[in-house]
Amino acid sequence: MIQEKIRQKAKELLENKTVDLIIGFGEGTLPLRATPLFIRNPEEVDRLIWNSFCENNLATYLHKFSQFKVGLVVKGCDARSIIALSLEKRFKPDQLFLIGVPCQRMVDRRRVKKAVKGEILRAREQGDQIIVEGEDFKTALKRDDYLYPSCQVCTHRTPIKANVVIGDPVEERSLIEAHPEIKEFEKKSPEERWKYFEKESSRCIRCYACREACPMCYCAECFVDSPNPKWIEKGLSPSDIEFYHIVRAYHQTGRCSGCGACERACPMEIRLTYLTQKLNLDVKELFDFETGIDADALPPLSTYETEDKQEFIK
């Protein structure tokens, strides 16, 4: 079982002092939740778990623990973020030991909540089902009907360049065929697309949870906080909010692994990944590049090739 193997590996790494710290997942305090877990003692490894609620991108913690040797449990998307960060020289390869787990795709706890009437008090996985129980109900839901939008379109569930991969590799899809939502969206007129974006972003409360959850957002001073030049104000003006989301999405071009951490962190449930998914598709089409797949391929916006398309330069 994957969980057992993760624990074994973690124990081994800590006992041999290959790492100072293991970052993985532990039991959450709420149903349908796992929580990031930080352990330093081999005796604690039995707290590590693995299930369909291990949704966090743990790569985002590496910025905080950059002075340690860290053993990190990574899914496919998380490993891609790590490759992207290594290309940006955020850490040295020998600082990390990646325990890769081919991802079964993570369950969207918000949609599960909305599928039942009443508070979910207990939840567990059973085969391909999620059994949820409340005060006066018990329902079995088909796991694959309740996956996160980012997981539904995932094309790299097996971690790349992990030190060890626990479990068997899983079947993958190509990027282009995996994005039905975006393809539908592309058929809409610019006015329709803008209306959708305007509506989604209108809920934004400028908490920047999306930014903090994202492993690629690590700027000491984010553009929204820049006083000189001051790009946008700090209030709730719709144009400022729209500017923030558009620019943040663009700052992810060629860097975003599509993990969906931004969308999951958002308390107002804004569909953030449709923006980044579209950008990732465009990057594939324009530059034949996917973030974090090839550890030697430089990100397209940091390099120039003579074959790069130029027809948009008028």
Binding site: L30, L37, R203
Partner: protein
């Protein structure tokens, strides 16, 4: 005085309020997402959620608020304050925890030395219609924080959902102003009994097991404890907890300027931001998440109590529900009470 409002009269009742007051109530922005907003039509009101994401304090302390506008004409500055309130207000459907939180931040804004007129004018102009929680969530711990699902503290009127009707209790002078509203009928004894039943059932559901007795003194001993380094490990500093917390009151003041005119605005801010205490010299007393997490928790459970004799937490559970990393304040409180050793 206890009255009753049939649900079929609910929308006309709201309309009768809107004729006299600006009505603020929970409005659904998307499935599962609601905030308090000034409503234009009765059918916008959504009381089905347990608690909107953004707390009721918004009605008195908006997330983004203009303080004054200015205009420069030659050497002359015209400054126009926007502290006025155009019309009296009603909040409808605030939960007891959110109302309790408002009375906590009253201490900050209506302090003895200075009065925050923006907050105070709105507060004074508002009648609060609270609504009881007949189905508290398992993440609610208001009873541990001096509150309760049926606590009437701070409400001018208090609603209890009886199924086909609401029980409407008029509790204060502001509440009594509604005694002549044509949609409010006299409550019968079986209505009152049903109300009591629902109240008892809800109270039994509450799990008052978050021990805060003596937490202030415990924290006094823990200022430099290694506990803070450990407890903040999973926190990514996303600030969601502070933006949704009903007792958080930190704000930033900025000028928004065009060439010759502009405005001074205040916006909610968060002590968990890395730039929050950054000084222009470059010195940052809270340069890591350890200091910032310590500040947040100490403020709620030690500093605020030192100033106002009350814990600045109402047990609404939003920080637990919405934290992306499942940081659970109930767990943290229990660890603190054990002296900070895991």
């Amino acid at each position: 005085m206890k009255l009753k409002l049939d649900k079929k009269d609910f929308n006309p009742f709201l309309q009768s309020l809107m004729d006299e007051y600006d009505l603020f109530a929970p409005v659904q922005l998307a499935e599962g997402v609601s905030v308090y907003k000034k409503i234009d039509r009765p059918d916008e009101v959504d009381l089905s959620t347990s608690n909107p994401q953004k707390p009721a304090k918004e009605v008195f302390f908006p997330q983004s608020e203009i303080m004054f506008r200015y205009e420069k004409t030659g050497k002359q500055h015209q400054v126009t304050s926007t502290e006025g309130v155009e019309r009296k207000r009603v909040i409808l459907g605030a939960r007891p925890c959110d109302i309790h939180a408002v009375s906590l931040i009253d201490h900050v804004f209506s302090g003895k030395e200075y009065t925050d007129v923006y907050y105070a004018n709105k507060r004074n102009a508002t009648t609060i219609i609270g609504i009881a929680c007949d189905h508290p969530l398992s993440t609610c711990f208001c009873t541990s924080m001096n509150g309760g699902p049926f606590s009437r503290e701070g409400s001018d009127l208090f609603l209890v959902d009886l199924g086909e009707a609401y029980l409407v209790e008029l509790l204060t002078e502001k509440g009594m102003a509604f005694s002549q509203n044509k949609f409010l009928k006299k409550a019968e004894s079986n209505d009152l009994n049903l109300g009591r039943e629902i109240e008892e059932k809800a109270s039994k559901k509450m799990d008052a097991s978050v021990p805060v007795e003596g937490i202030e003194k415990r924290l006094d001993q823990m200022v430099e404890s290694p506990f803070w380094e450990k407890v903040q490990e999973k926190c990514i500093g996303c600030r969601v907890c502070t933006y949704l917390c009903p007792t958080c009151h930190c704000f930033d003041i900025v000028d928004e300027a065009l060439t010759n005119k502009g405005q001074r605005v205040r916006n909610w801010d968060s002590c968990l931001s890395s730039l929050y205490s950054l000084e222009t010299s470059g010195h940052n007393p809270r340069s890591t998440n350890r200091e910032r997490t310590r500040q947040r928790i100490m403020h709620k459970f030690n500093y605020f109590p030192k100033n106002f004799d009350r814990i600045a937490c109402v047990g609404c559970g939003r920080c637990i529900l919405y934290c992306p990393a499942n940081f659970d304040i109930r767990q943290t409180i229990k660890e603190i009470q054990k002296g900070g050793d895991k």
